[in-house]
């Protein structure tokens, strides 16, 4: 198969890439990287991703790392099939890019730290939780205002700007942090919508 994804189940960045492949109806081969033996921190995996992180991605001769670069590549290459993940009109695309950067620079940092605390990967007392919940709340306040005017972050349709959020939100909705999403009506509706998409549900059922 031309498209290969190297990673392990449970990695948010891996899920971000797989979600884009499912939305685009692109067949792929999943190659499990042994997390326990830290296979991703050694050669030969390091030739695929020199930062020693999953996922790594292959499409024919092209290899890529960084989940948000891979999703963009998939969205562009397979533009003619599946969900339109990158808007074509230059102005709409520019606005979509703004919200993709908001996810990257603001949402991800706050939500990721809360995930790490919830998973016990980072020692966090109530002060640290409060600090990052405040950061996430500030972001979600902006989202609430945005989603009052638009069904999705980039406009009328689901795009990568929403997709990039799926893995972290999915995890946090099974923790106390879910109250931050549920207490904001437009955010709550958006979360329910994006986590019930057929492509996301198919991904949740995926087993390598």
């Amino acid at each position: 198969m031309a498209v290969k994804v190297y990673g392990f189940i449970g990695s948010n960045a891996v899920y971000r890439v797989l979600a884009s492949l499912y939305e685009k109806n692109v067949d792929f081969e999943f190659i499990t990287v042994n997390m326990v033996s830290r296979e991703h921190k050694r050669p030969p995996f390091l030739t695929r991703n020199p930062f020693g992180q999953v996922p790594a991605f292959e499409d024919g001769d092209l290899t890529l790392f960084e989940s948000r670069a891979i999703t963009k590549y998939v969205a562009r290459k397979y533009a003619d099939q599946g969900t339109e993940l990158i808007l074509k009109d230059p102005i709409q695309m520019a606005i979509q890019t703004v919200w993709m950067e908001v996810e990257n620079q603001k949402f991800d940092q706050a939500s990721w730290k809360l995930m790490e605390i919830a998973m016990g990967r980072v020692r966090g007392g109530p002060e640290l939780v409060a600090e990052y919940e405040k950061k996430l709340s500030d972001v979600l306040d902006v989202y609430e205002a945005r989603l009052k005017e638009n069904k999705y972050l980039a406009g009328d349709g689901f795009t990568l700007a929403d997709l990039h959020h799926q893995p972290n939100i999915y995890f946090l909705m099974s923790t106390r942090v879910k109250r931050l999403f549920e207490s904001r009506p437009h955010v709550r509706a958006w979360v329910a919508d994006i986590l019930s998409r057929p492509a996301w549900l198919k991904l949740m059922a995926f087993s390598p």
Binding site: L62, K72, Y73
Partner: protein, 218 residues
């Protein structure tokens, strides 16, 4: 001469503002720099928040569009003016674009966090009379070293991060690195690595970046 339609709001000393300025200069796109009085909290007032809902700099306007997030603004400029100024800033074909996106993401996810903390702790905290956090400095220096080791390896076989040409991926690194090399005692992190040092010397002496530094020092 008519007022340029492109407006950038914010001070040139802001790393995010300078990222946008260098992109506009690389592309020969005329612009107006609109000051924002951050000492008077102008960036937190309703008129500004309408443009940038997080109350941060920069904000950006072009014709009818208002944008924020410096890396989104840079992508917009590079896409809108592909043949002006430095061509190929965002790639001329999908494979090159993918490589640029990959290294732009590496900058965002791996380089930016530790270099931003170090820039704040070593450059801005003293200016703001805030106490420096030694443990945080040490921790982030170690993180940055690991990232620069990856860059050292990459730049040994590639002139610039995404390939043979200077692109947005390299440009995005200019603001934080300028502070760390010129205004702190951590220049060595970059200059002691042969390939990283060579790359820094090339990208930082580009006329567009030199102009931005002049604007910062004005």
């Amino acid at each position: 001469m008519a007022t340029p339609p492109v407006k950038v709001y914010g001070p040139p000393l802001s790393t995010a503002v300078s990222r946008v300025l260098v992109c506009l200069l690389e592309k020969d796109v005329p612009f107006q720099l609109v000051p924002v009085n951050m000492a008077k909290m102008e960036h937190k007032k309703p008129d500004y928040i309408k443009m940038q809902p997080f109350g941060q700099v920069p904000a950006f306007q072009d014709d009818d569009i208002t944008l924020f997030e410096s890396r989104a603004i840079c992508r917009y400029i590079a896409e809108k003016y592909p043949n002006k100024g430095t061509a190929g800033l965002f790639g001329t074909n999908p494979l090159v674009k993918a490589s640029i996106d990959q290294w732009l993401e590496a900058e965002s996810q791996s380089f930016n966090p530790p270099s931003s903390v170090l820039t704040f702790q070593l450059v801005f905290a003293p200016l703001m009379k805030l106490k420096q956090d030694e443990a945080l400095i040490k921790q982030n220096e170690a993180k940055l070293e690991k990232v620069l080791d990856v860059y050292e390896n990459r730049l040994g076989s590639s002139r610039y991060l995404a390939g043979d040409e200077f692109t947005l991926a390299d440009l995005s690194h200019l603001p934080n690195t300028q502070f760390l090399v010129e205004k702190t005692d951590k220049a060595e992190l970059f200059t002691s690595r042969k390939n990283v040092g060579r790359w820094w010397s090339e990208i930082s002496t580009r006329p567009a970046w030199k102009k931005v530094v002049e604007m910062q020092n004005a």
